[in-house]
């Protein structure tokens, strides 16, 4: 046993020497690989962006240590948020957001997540929008050409809507539309945007409120068409789809934000480093091209602007949830 003890001592003291020689007053840079927590499963929109960010950083050597995406999809982001909350002060953890970071603290109060004090918002890179989709050959939506046609049809008939899971963004949106247009629909939850799109084209549901990228394949093949995009302006990726403002429904505006946050209690120095890193990624050509082609909106936001945005969105989601229940 004594040998083991001696050896352990040697190893520990050697390493300590090495550590003390390295640490000196330099500006912050990561000392180990950075964990990028994804509050969703593999293959979703957030996962895609996270892996894109990882790839862009690695390819161009934007950071001295790699970024490692880790999926913690449990509890609609609840698990990921609890994890990051526990990591307060940790300088090597980031979380990419879906809108579930705005809804889960309200829906699952037992988790004890304080959205405004448990995280350090760094930057918003992208916003993703939602469209109302129907199948081109949908048997219940035959003859629907415009969004107004659709509202008229939906009011009289109980249509089936496919969505990504109860209390997720699209069901909240359905709640919003229910209040606004006075129609309701039967909500069938699937496990991801891809399955939702397939359910629509396969004839199981009548309409969906899906992200652009998730329905892109069926849009290009002409199997499904979009009636309205929930933004003030048209999107170059879907030139013929009208925006909700054009149609006279400015209240029908909704975004999915792809922002990055760090745990609470990190130094300003660290915050500055990661915001700078994300800024570099944001302006990377490959990153820009990919997202624009995919129908996403490039929308950088940091600092107080981001904090205001989050406060407004948080309040808005709280309101939607309250009206929903």
């Amino acid at each position: 046993m004594s040998i083991i003890k001696k050896l352990a001592l040697v190893v520990v003291s050697l390493s300590l020497v090495a550590v003390s020689s390295v640490s000196s007053a330099k500006p912050f840079s990561p000392k180990k690989p950075v964990e990028l927590i994804i509050p969703a499963g593999q293959g979703g929109g957030a996962d895609e962006i996270a892996r894109l960010v990882q790839g862009v950083i690695e390819k161009n050597d934007y950071a001295s240590k790699p970024v490692i995406p880790i999926n913690k999809s449990g509890g609609s982001g609840g698990e990921a948020m609890t994890y990051v909350k526990k990591k307060a002060g940790d300088e090597h953890t980031l979380i990419i957001t879906l809108n579930n970071v705005l809804t889960t603290p309200v829906n699952q109060p037992e988790l004890g997540i304080d959205f405004f004090n448990d995280f350090t918002p760094l930057a918003r890179l992208i916003t993703d929008t939602f469209l109302v989709w129907i199948a081109t050959e949908g048997k219940n939506t035959a003859g629907v050409e415009t969004f107004d046609d659709f509202i008229d049809l939906a009011k009289g008939n109980g249509l089936v809507m496919g969505g990504t899971g109860s209390m997720s963004e699209d069901e909240l949106l359905l709640g919003m539309m229910r209040g606004q247009f006075g129609f309701d629909a039967k909500y069938v939850p699937y496990s991801g945007g891809g399955a939702v799109a397939k359910g629509l084209v396969g004839g199981e549901s009548d309409f969906t409120l899906n992200n652009p990228s998730e329905q892109m394949g069926f849009y290009q093949s002409g199997d499904s068409k979009a009636l309205v995009m929930m933004t003030p302006e048209r999107n170059p990726a879907f030139p013929e789809v009208p925006s909700s403002y054009e149609l006279g429904y400015p209240d029908l505006e909704y975004y999915m934000m792809r922002a990055f946050m760090a745990p609470a209690g990190i130094d300003a120095e660290v915050e500055k480093y990661y915001t700078g890193l994300l800024h570099t990624v944001y302006h990377d050509d490959e990153f820009q091209t990919f997202n624009i082609d995919d129908g996403k909106l490039m929308s950088w936001l940091e600092g107080f602007g981001l904090k205001d945005f989050l406060a407004i969105e948080y309040a808005k989601h709280g309101e939607i949830i309250k009206n929903f229940n």
């Binding site: 040998i3 083991i4 001696k6 050896l7 352990a8 520990v12 390493s15 300590l16 090495a18 550590v19 390295v22 000392k31 180990k32 690989p33 964990e35 001295s64 240590k65 790699p66 490692i68 880790i70």
Partner: protein, 204 residues
């Protein structure tokens, strides 16, 4: 000796059945936190399936208990010890050392915990020489580190030992060529071996 003799298969069978019945009841109560109804107006509640599944579990354990009382199952007639004394000791040591290992991982981190776990476990169960055990206990965590953190980029818990790994990461992701890194890997694996051989010579 006496304890393992007293725990007969018969007693274990009924004890386990009762524990499982209690677990089933606990599951039913827990499931009932969500709606457990399913009728024409409302669709299946979130608690419906877990509730009735655990009810089914309860029924099965009750059937097992009935079979036990009626002496219909082979276990209900078996008075031999559930586990013999020697095996009991092995199993107890294994389970306790695993529990200690996982506790230690939470604090010390996985790599240092593994050294202690392997050293203890091999010392206890194998008749290998201490030099072999030392090499084994040190190289296994090193290989684990290389495989998980370097090759697969899966971070394993490091607990309080985390700062010790910063220089390693600096080296891994520093601008060294592949060849330098490979030589380093080979050295890290060989070094403990050489060290142990040398020290064991002198200590003898």
């Amino acid at each position: 000796m006496s304890i393992t003799n007293k725990i007969t298969v018969k007693r274990a069978e009924i004890a386990v059945a009762v524990i499982l019945a209690l677990c089933s009841i606990a599951l039913m109560i827990k499931s009932a936190e969500n709606r457990i109804t399913w009728n024409a107006e409302e669709n299946m509640g979130a608690g419906f399936l877990p509730f009735y599944l655990s009810l089914g579990m309860l029924i099965c354990t009750i059937l097992t208990i009935i079979k036990f009382v009626l002496k219909r199952s082979p276990q209900s007639k078996d008075d031999s010890p559930f586990i013999d004394a020697v095996a009991f000791k092995f199993i107890a040591v294994t389970i306790i050392s695993l529990v200690v290992l996982v506790l230690a991982i939470g604090y010390l981190g996985i790599y240092f915990s593994l050294i202690f776990f392997l050293a203890f476990y091999l010392r206890y169960f194998s008749e290998k020489r201490i030099s072999f055990i030392t090499i084994f206990a040190i190289t296994t965590p090193i290989l684990t580190f290389l495989f998980f953190e370097w090759m697969l980029k899966i971070p394993l818990p490091q607990g309080v030992s985390e700062p010790l790994f910063y220089p390693v990461y600096d080296f891994m992701y520093g601008g060294f060529s592949f060849a330098v890194k490979m030589i380093f890997i080979i050295l890290t694996v060989l070094l403990p071996t050489a060290l142990v051989f040398l020290t064991s010579r002198f200590i003898k």
